[in-house]
């Protein structure tokens, strides 16, 4: 009896075996390959890379396979792996205006230089279940455009900035190196680079909910989607020993620049302000949410009221990480016999006193 309530080494070992068997499922069904996951579940792979803070499609696919498709568990696996990887170098800042754009839309102007480019979006698919996908089918045809897209599309916000109606987008004074939240703890007050880093790693659902709250009266953002672009971008290094830039490969990112109305304050004239979102892979929902939350977290700096959850940095940033949140919520299933025993004896004492008082004759 006594031993039964304590876990045993054997029980843990058996649970591993059972988990592996469940992951594989019916052996009559072919096993998933990592290539299949990378190719055919690419958005799941992107999300795991994004919140896992590691751009490696192969490892993200592996994590998804090991986690049996549980995105948060896969993010956790990837994070635990990346933590021990050595830092070989720091890349130069990404230049998103040099992106090889696969999609680019603006909600603020009907037409923009370079045009609106829909790209591979599900926005206009009418969301009818496509039963033809239930069985393997021939590869869908995709026609090539007559002319290639321009090499470089200017940012829509730069056009407004030229008119002086957009706040300047400057690095902080003295341009200090940004904090690295994977190496240093998040401290408050957190500057914008630290906040953006936290949001870029943050859980998509959390950011989406916070962003949504700003649109429903919990903060006043007045946002417009100035520009959303997605595509491939080169990662550049400048090794000291070489003295010139080298291209070490390309990654896919999604960038969202929100434009927000601003009535002006003691230190700034009426103008548009910015909210910024940048994430690995294709994820407009996350990039847009990030941009809305980034802007609402600037409330204090811009002299706006700061009463809403999405305007409070400690609230928004301390609860954004799915690995932290999931671990702490689920730690409640660990044994708490000792604490519970302490509470049980306390409640019994209080209850006995309560009952004694109830029974005492009133005077």
């Amino acid at each position: 009896m006594y031993v039964a309530v304590k876990g045993g080494e054997t029980a843990i070992a058996r649970s591993w075996d059972l988990l592996a068997a469940r992951r594989r499922g019916d052996e009559a069904v072919p096993e998933l390959s990592l290539a299949q996951i990378r190719q055919q579940l690419r958005l799941a792979v992107h999300r795991v890379m994004q919140e896992g803070s590691l751009y490696d499609e192969e490892l993200a696919a592996l994590a998804l396979k090991q986690a049996a498709g549980d995105a948060m568990e896969a993010v956790f696996l990837l994070r635990a792996f990346r933590t021990t990887l050595p830092r070989l170098a720091t890349s130069l800042p990404l230049d998103t205006s040099a992106m090889r754009v696969a999609r680019r839309v603006s909600g603020t102007f009907k037409d923009v230089p370079g045009g609106q480019i829909l790209g591979p979006t599900a926005d206009y698919t009418q969301r009818l279940l496509d039963f033809s996908l239930a069985e393997p089918a021939a590869t869908p045809r995709c026609e090539l455009a007559e002319a290639p897209l321009p090499e470089c599309l200017p940012s829509v916000l730069d056009l407004l900035a030229a008119e002086g109606l957009m706040e300047a987008d400057l690095p902080p004074p003295d341009d200090p190196a940004p904090a690295d939240l994977t190496r240093e703890p998040l401290l408050f007050p957190a500057d914008r680079p630290a906040r953006l880093q936290n949001l870029a790693r943050g859980d998509e659902g959390w950011l989406l909910g916070l962003a949504y709250s700003t649109q429903r009266g919990y903060a006043e953002n007045h946002p417009f989607a100035g520009e959303i672009r997605m595509g491939e971008i080169s990662v550049m290094l400048l090794p000291d020993e070489l003295g010139f830039e080298i291209d070490i490969g390309a990654i896919v990112v999604t960038e969202c620049q929100m434009i927000n109305q601003f009535a002006g304050g003691p230190h700034a004239p009426p103008q548009f302000t910015r909210g910024y979102g940048l994430v690995f892979g294709e994820s407009e929902r996350k990039a847009m949410s990030m941009a809305l939350v980034d802007r609402s977290l600037r409330a204090q700096e811009l002299g706006e009221s700061t009463g809403s959850p999405a305007q409070q940095a400690e609230f928004a940033l301390c609860h954004s990480d799915s690995v932290e949140a999931s671990g702490f919520v689920q730690h409640l299933k660990l044994p708490h016999y000792v604490d519970f025993q302490a509470e049980l004896s306390l409640i019994r004492t209080l209850r006995a006193e309560h009952d004694r008082q109830q029974d005492a004759p009133h005077d």
Partner: protein
């Protein structure tokens, strides 16, 4: 049986090998520097660059980072959860270190040089040279009273702890007692208010002037702190409502101990209760001594 830390697949296996104790040496150095600061300022919460560990946050990531930072080849490790060596989480962490550090492990408190614990301090008195590593879910004792980290850091800096006594005052006004039974706040070295981690208050007196070094790690909250050997540790109280640890009218049903912390077990469907030692090593020793 699945090996969770084996190389993920054949074509990846040459990419890397785990360092001794899982963490790389630079991370260990960062942790040791933070620990030195913690020892120098007893009870002060040192922010540190907590790493993501292959264990969920809230399950002892702070504890395993501290253990990984101080463990050496000669160490003998004991891991307990709720006082027991064979609870699932304790087993998991002990296996982790056996695997990534290859050190000897033990369940005998006296034989251990390093003890990682969740929620208990062993009944066997600790000795000089031993290190206790506590897993801490919430390092900030003022957190439930003041949510803002900016504000609580100020309260510590200025030693403004009136708020904590307000809580204790309210307990007595409402219940006639201080209604905190575990994670009972302590004043370390007459300076910093600290959480002893969620140990029952029964264990608080063991912290006072202990010959062992006590290290506390909160991975999710990215804070660590320490109580060096022989440091004064006072459990908060009022002069006319002094600190009082739990006690039981029963003795352990297995070993007969009347001075150890007891777990209550529901022994059958009729709800019959049994009380047994939460410290499994202590219980075993008592039974062996009796035979």
């Amino acid at each position: 049986m699945t090996e969770p830390f084996s190389p993920p697949s054949a074509n990846l296996d040459d990419r890397w090998r785990y360092n001794f104790g899982f963490l790389d040496e630079n991370t260990k150095r960062m942790l040791r520097r933070a620990l030195l600061k913690a020892v120098a300022v007893p009870g002060y919460q040192v922010p540190f660059g907590s790493r993501e560990m292959p264990l969920p946050y809230g399950w002892g990531t702070g504890g395993i980072q501290l253990t990984a930072a101080v463990i050496g080849h000669e160490d003998v490790l004991k891991v307990i959860d709720q006082g027991a060596d064979d609870t699932t989480n304790a087993v998991n962490i002990r296996r982790f270190f056996a695997r990534v550090a290859g050190v000897a492990t033990t369940t005998v408190t006296r034989d251990a040089t390093l003890i990682q614990t969740r929620h208990r301090i062993p009944e066997t008195p600790l000795a000089e040279g031993q290190i206790m590593v506590f897993q801490v879910p919430e390092p900030e004792p003022l957190r439930t009273l003041e949510a803002s980290e900016v504000e609580t850091r100020k309260l510590h800096a200025h030693q403004e702890y009136g708020l904590m006594h307000v809580k204790l005052y309210e307990d007595i006004a409402r219940y006639g007692h201080i209604a905190t039974s575990y994670d009972y706040p302590v004043m370390v070295n007459r300076r910093y208010l600290a959480s002893p981690s969620p140990i029952p208050k029964f264990d608080n007196p063991k912290l006072h002037r202990s010959p062992a070094l006590m290290l506390f790690g909160a991975g999710r909250e990215k804070r660590l702190y320490a109580i060096p050997p022989y440091t004064e540790v006072e459990s908060l109280a009022f002069e006319d409502h002094p600190f009082e640890a739990q006690h039981w009218s029963q003795a352990c049903a297995l070993c007969g101990s009347s001075d150890s912390y007891l777990d209550e077990i529901i022994a059958d469907d009729a709800g019959v209760r049994q009380f047994v030692c939460s410290d499994t090593d202590h219980c075993r020793q008592q039974r062996e001594a009796a035979q």
